[in-house]
Point group: C2
Chain length 195, copies 2
């Protein structure tokens, strides 16, 4: 992607937003460049000025999503010293975020359509998210606050699953229940994990 | 679908299996009838003898999947009187099944491509699965074995999420860890839920 002029930034942003919407509604394969071009009101040449090909748009959509929705939560969590607070805070923030913004998990199903280099970059952020939880669980085990027989990887995936699944059932027309949904997930997991 | 002759049953079964494989690898939209026909070694006319159209194949794939992988677990659980045992047994069986057979969750992303009638039938089984867990949690609350402030719907989805997420992370080349994975998910959830 060329560095866009400041005045073009909004246009690129709009293109990413609209492409995300189309990918979610129709799937990546079912969304031709001609449709993106039509929806965003740019010629194909105009799009190719910013994006080499459709895969680069998919990458930009993923990059935007992790930068906006995931990295800030990770960075906040990594500042927290106490393992229990860090685990609880990150899992809550993650679940709460998914009650606001349903796209993250749905994007997952199209992630493998990215080039290996792009996939590696995006999945690196997912691994960092996994690492926040897994590392906190190991620390809790070392501190004797979580039973040693619990497999930290499986426990991490149990937590990630209960949060990530939100996008398949949460009623986004009732955003006011997002807080209780996230809290329920975190409370059950933390009570289940700790000694 | 016409009632197949006994001798044709294997062929229909093979067609469903192969279609499932193709849908998972390529997505439903990206799998033309011509490819299914080629892979299964039947003419298109031969396929249309059994299935009205591609949507009917998608429905048959889903029907097969719930009949084989989900209904037996539901029926087993519904026989169990004690709510805690029922909840624990069903969640374990569900998680364990997903460590054996990764297709159930992945099929979910294509479910909406079914006709409304077919979708209603298949999602009815999913609702019954949800009901097994939700009903057990409500019973436990009535028996004073689970705190009343826990929202049974959110708790049910937390359990379903931690199990269903298995298909995104489980290492299917190491089937021997399926039991521990399922047990970890169930132990954390049950301890987190119960008073």
């Amino acid at each position: 992607m060329d560095k866009p002029e400041p005045a073009e930034l909004d246009r690129v942003d709009e293109l990413i937003q609209l492409s995300l919407k189309l990918f979610l509604e129709r799937g990546y394969d079912n969304t031709p460049m001609s449709l993106i071009s039509k929806e965003v009101g740019l010629t194909k040449a105009g799009i190719y000025h910013h994006f080499e090909n459709k895969e680069h748009i998919l990458y930009a959509v993923h990059k935007k999503s992790v930068e906006k929705n995931l990295l800030p939560l990770i960075e906040k969590a990594e500042q927290i010293t106490d393992a229990e607070t860090r685990l609880r805070t990150y899992l809550y923030d993650l679940a709460r975020q998914l009650t606001r913004e349903p796209t993250a998990t749905v994007l997952l199903s199209e992630a493998r359509r990215m080039s290996p280099e792009h996939y590696k970059e995006i999945s690196g952020v997912w691994r960092r998210s996994y690492g926040v939880l897994q590392k906190a669980i190991v620390e809790l085990q070392e501190q004797g606050r979580c039973p040693k027989h619990i497999n930290p990887a499986f426990a991490t995936f149990a937590a990630l699953g209960s949060a990530s699944w939100i996008v398949f059932w949460f009623d986004y027309s009732r955003p006011e229940s997002g807080e209780e949904a996230a809290r329920t997930i975190v409370d059950i997991f933390m009570k289940g994990l700790l000694s």
